[in-house]
């Protein structure tokens, strides 16, 4: 820019650029129209509503509106942090997420890898269809099934009793079993669906690579290690970063549907605590408090996402930005 500011020749250059730009725009204007629609969507539905986050610093009353409500500074955050249960809910949220990441993240990858090795197309498709069916079952129904199957007379309870001689009890009242139930049911529900994206990535790998690997004398396991895995590594890394970015956001629904006071110690997460806090007492809706907690979650998530992305860029060529 600084170089182009030379007094001599600046005018013609500028003019030339202007005509270039004009020509360019005349030629591609429609693409910009299409872009504008998308931009408008984000501006209208994502950026403008963001000013509502102000109520985290206010005592929000609907009739006074977002701008008209009184400022209270960091009061809503203080209320959250000073709770006797803040650390516990924070720990539970992080722990459930970490466990989900440790077990729930690799599961679809492994599943996709094995599925990819299947040669019988009919069998492969059947397996795939069955595996992603649970994705379409509503969470409420899944929770109902869990309650039913893990009941003291439920199917799973009975099977476990026959196989391992475990006690016939209501498993969801057992705080030692809660996390396992939560994670395993999550994997069961999302396994097939999450595998789709990996299967798509797998189909993009150049088959010549496999051929040459075979010529070099690789068995199927070594092919998996040296061709398949590197081939889908970018997908894995991107999904991993995105997953890290959702570390503190744990949907409240599943917890509300599965937990009870017997398991609070391990099951009570930030969102369920806020739900009880904001909605359960005295019938007053505390919008500001919930927003403050949400904002806190968002900041942590954004930080984690940035760190994960930075690390990924540092150690591999793949990153979100």
């Amino acid at each position: 820019m600084a170089l182009s500011r030379k007094p001599a020749g600046a005018l013609p250059a500028k003019l030339a650029r202007k005509t270039d730009w004009k020509n360019y725009f005349a030629q591609y204007w429609f693409i910009y129209v299409i872009l504008a629609v998308v931009l408008a969507y984000y501006v209208i539905f994502k950026y403008i509503p963001m000013y509502g986050v102000l109520i985290a610093f206010k005592r929000y009353t609907p009739s006074a509106g977002i701008w008209g409500s009184d400022w209270v500074g960091l009061r809503n955050f203080e209320r959250f942090f000073s709770s006797a249960y803040f650390m516990r809910t924070f720990r539970n949220t992080v722990l459930l997420n970490v466990m989900n990441l440790a077990f729930g993240f690799p599961a679809p990858i492994i599943f996709a890898l094995f599925l990819n090795e299947l040669r019988n197309q009919v069998f492969k498709r059947t397996i795939q269809t069955i595996s992603y069916l649970p994705h379409f079952i509503s969470l409420v129904v899944v929770a109902g099934m869990l309650h039913d199957f893990l009941n003291n007379t439920g199917t799973i309870t009975t099977v476990l009793n026959l196989l391992f001689g475990t006690e016939k009890k209501v498993w969801l009242n057992d705080k030692n079993a809660y996390r396992t139930i939560y994670i395993v049911s999550d994997i069961w529900k999302s396994l097939g669906w999450s595998a789709i994206i990996y299967l798509a990535a797998l189909s993009n790998i150049d088959t010549q690579l496999y051929d040459s690997a075979e010529i070099d004398g690789c068995g199927s396991l070594r092919k998996m290690r040296h061709v398949t895995l590197p081939g889908i590594a970018p997908t894995i890394i991107i999904l991993f970063i995105l997953r890290i970015g959702a570390m503190l956001s744990l949907g409240v629904e599943k917890t509300l549907l599965l937990y009870n006071p017997n398991t609070y110690e391990v099951s009570d997460v930030i969102s369920s605590f806020v739900y009880r806090r904001g909605f359960g007492i005295d019938g007053r809706a505390d919008y500001s408090f919930s927003t403050a907690v949400d904002l806190f979650n968002a900041i942590i998530n954004l930080t984690l996402l940035t760190v994960a992305n930075f690390t990924a860029r540092r150690f591999s060529e793949t990153s979100l930005w």
Binding site: A64, W67, H147, I281
Partner: protein, 591 residues
């Protein structure tokens, strides 16, 4: 050509810009419009309701009503009830133009929240169920300037104001601490009408083991143990559920001791507030009772998150020994099992304590009102007209219309007694009485007083339920041993402080009670630590705040609280029983 294209592009872009600016504009206007608080009137109403052209001298006043719709909307009844009999009739009578905005009940809370948060309320807002389900209370809505003080339209609502002025207790419910009248509610004038549920047990099973109806907690537990151990249904399996319920039912069983889980009243609604864990002796008894029920498996093991649909199945399978539920279920089950050789579910009194007192947990009775409320919003262009319309249903004529429906279609007069027709009680499309009533009767969104003549025909059709409502549950009720906290309100600052304390305290208590219940903690060893921790979490301060709010409630309207409900008179000869089973146990004058 290029130029034209260019222009087109610019046009498209500028249009987009305008649209997005308009979208930006929308939010600010709604906020600036609302900063003026209670005085806001918006003009959006005219465009949202369609004005029908009538020949009336004055244009009809459009009135929009929001309500949570159940299984049936008002249009579903048009196969039997012509519009001019209800909505059309009302439109003409009041020169109004009614329009309804509805939300399915499961979305009602969210929709109401959005409506309030954007200040786009309909003229009339009607909330079904307790305030807690809606997470917002009328006095908060009033403080936020979203509903009007009904005193400002007092001259248009003479009937309702008459009821409110004549009944100090009802007045306490519908007003806030600053003397504003906030809503139209459902007054209860007779105890039988407010008595909606209680304890019941299998009389035929008790007879098998020569046990009488339980009079004390010990006798109750003895009966449950007998059901658990002796295979009363005789199928050779130990599949009996001695007492069927969920976590909530277990807490209500605990309330029989006279102290509730957190806060409760001593000396009835006019008494004073106590915090359960501070009442050491009673709370220990309460915890022991709950723990006994759970650990001895006298309640179904899956009582946490128990699905009540399961209960009807278990009843049909002849497995349930006792329950704590509504009158409707008692009636339904006895009808459902009318063909069973012995099945007889029979009501019994709340067991007496050692001091001979029976304790109760009856909210509706002490406040002489149901939860459901209807309010006039500050958006209403003609609040007086809305008031006039809503007041009509408290008059005899309006009450009959919304409670019994249309004469000749949904009810017939038998002397001076309105009897439901077969459309309701023996529905040709096989709807249950409750569904038929929901489909064909009632003007949505309005309120009226409760009428025993309805429930007598719909839910008192077996000896068991009739005896329960008219005698067993109602006779023993005493207001001074009733323990629920009245619907008191705190000031905003107090409510914030209270919520901050209770968020932790409630969690701690729920969790601790669960530990006592399952036996992880023992009452003897851990109770003192439990109470100490409650104090650490601020229980004393919470009690103070709760007490202050209740005292304000008791003083509302300048009169102290006094129990007001009378007893009902009804001509039972007009109402046939559906089954005679157990008739020998029913008081003869109820036949």
């Amino acid at each position: 050509m290029k130029r034209r294209r260019m222009r087109l592009a610019m046009l498209a872009l500028s249009l987009l810009l305008v649209f997005s600016l308009m979208a930006c504009q929308q939010t600010p206007t709604s906020t600036t419009g609302s900063t003026s608080g209670g005085a806001t009137t918006t003009t959006t109403k005219a465009s949202s309701t369609t004005t029908t052209t009538t020949q009336a001298a004055e244009e009809p006043v459009p009135i929009s009503i929001w309500y949570a719709v159940g299984r049936f909307t008002i249009d579903d009844r048009r196969d039997k009830i012509p519009e001019e009999k209800d909505i059309g009739f009302l439109n003409e009578r009041f020169n109004i133009d009614l329009s309804y905005t509805t939300a399915p009940s499961e979305q009602a809370r969210d929709q109401l929240g959005i409506m309030l948060a954007t200040n786009s309320m309909t003229d009339i807002i009607s909330m079904q169920g307790s305030f807690d389900t809606f997470l917002i209370r009328p006095d908060q809505m009033f403080a936020d300037g979203q509903i009007i003080d009904l005193k400002s339209v007092a001259s248009s609502i003479p009937t309702y104001m008459g009821i409110v002025d004549d009944n100090p207790v009802i007045k306490k419910n519908v007003m806030d601490d600053a003397d504003h009248i906030l809503y139209f509610g459902i007054p209860i004038f007779e105890a039988e009408v407010g008595m909606s549920g209680g304890l019941m047990i299998r009389k035929d099973w008790l007879d098998k083991y020569d046990l009488g109806l339980p009079q004390s907690i010990d006798e109750f537990l003895t009966a449950l143990r007998a059901f658990r151990d002796n295979d009363p249904n005789g199928n050779g399996q130990k599949d009996e559920v001695p007492f069927c319920g969920n976590q909530g039912s277990l807490q209500v069983i605990g309330n029989l001791i006279g102290v509730q889980e957190t806060f409760s009243m001593v000396g009835g609604t006019g008494g004073y507030v106590v915090f359960g864990p501070f009442e050491e002796e009673a709370y220990k008894k309460r915890l022991t009772l709950i723990a006994t029920m759970a650990q001895e498996k006298l309640i179904n093991e899956n009582y946490y998150n128990f699905d009540f649909q399961m209960r009807d199945t278990w009843i049909a399978e002849d497995r349930i020994g006792a329950a704590l539920t509504g009158l409707g279920n008692l009636d339904k089950w006895n009808n459902l099992m009318a063909d069973h050789p012995t099945f007889l579910m029979w009501p019994f009194n709340n067991p007496a304590q050692e001091d001979g007192k029976r304790y109760f947990d009856r909210t509706d009775l002490s406040k002489a009102m149901r939860h459901d409320v209807t309010m006039i919003s500050s958006n209403a262009a003609d609040p007086a007209k809305c008031g006039e319309f809503l007041d009509y249903f408290y008059t005899e004529e309006g009450h009959m219309l919304t409670t019994f429906g249309i004469e000749g279609l949904t009810y017939e007069m038998d002397g001076d007694f309105p009897k439901f027709t077969d459309l309701i009680v023996k529905n040709p499309d096989d709807l249950g009485v409750g569904d038929a009533q929901g489909k064909y009767i009632g003007i949505p969104g309005v309120r009226t007083y409760e009428d025993l003549r309805v429930w007598a025909q719909l839910s008192l059709t077996t000896p068991g339920s009739r005896q329960a409502a008219m005698r067993t549950w109602t006779d023993t009720f005493t207001e001074d041993t009733n323990t629920p906290i009245p619907p008191a309100m705190m000031s905003e600052a107090d409510a914030d402080e209270y919520a901050d304390i209770m968020a932790d305290l409630q969690t701690y208590i729920l969790e601790s009670v669960a530990k006592f219940t399952t036996g992880e903690w023992s009452v003897d060893a851990n109770f003192d630590d439990f109470v100490a921790q409650c104090r650490v979490l601020g229980a004393e301060r919470a009690l103070e705040l709760q007490d202050k709010a209740v005292k304000n409630w008791q003083a509302r309207g300048g009169e102290p609280y006094a129990y007001t409900l009378g007893r009902a008179e009804i001509d039972w000869s007009k109402i046939p029983l559906k089954t005679e089973k157990g008739i020998e146990l029913m008081d003869p004058d109820l036949r």
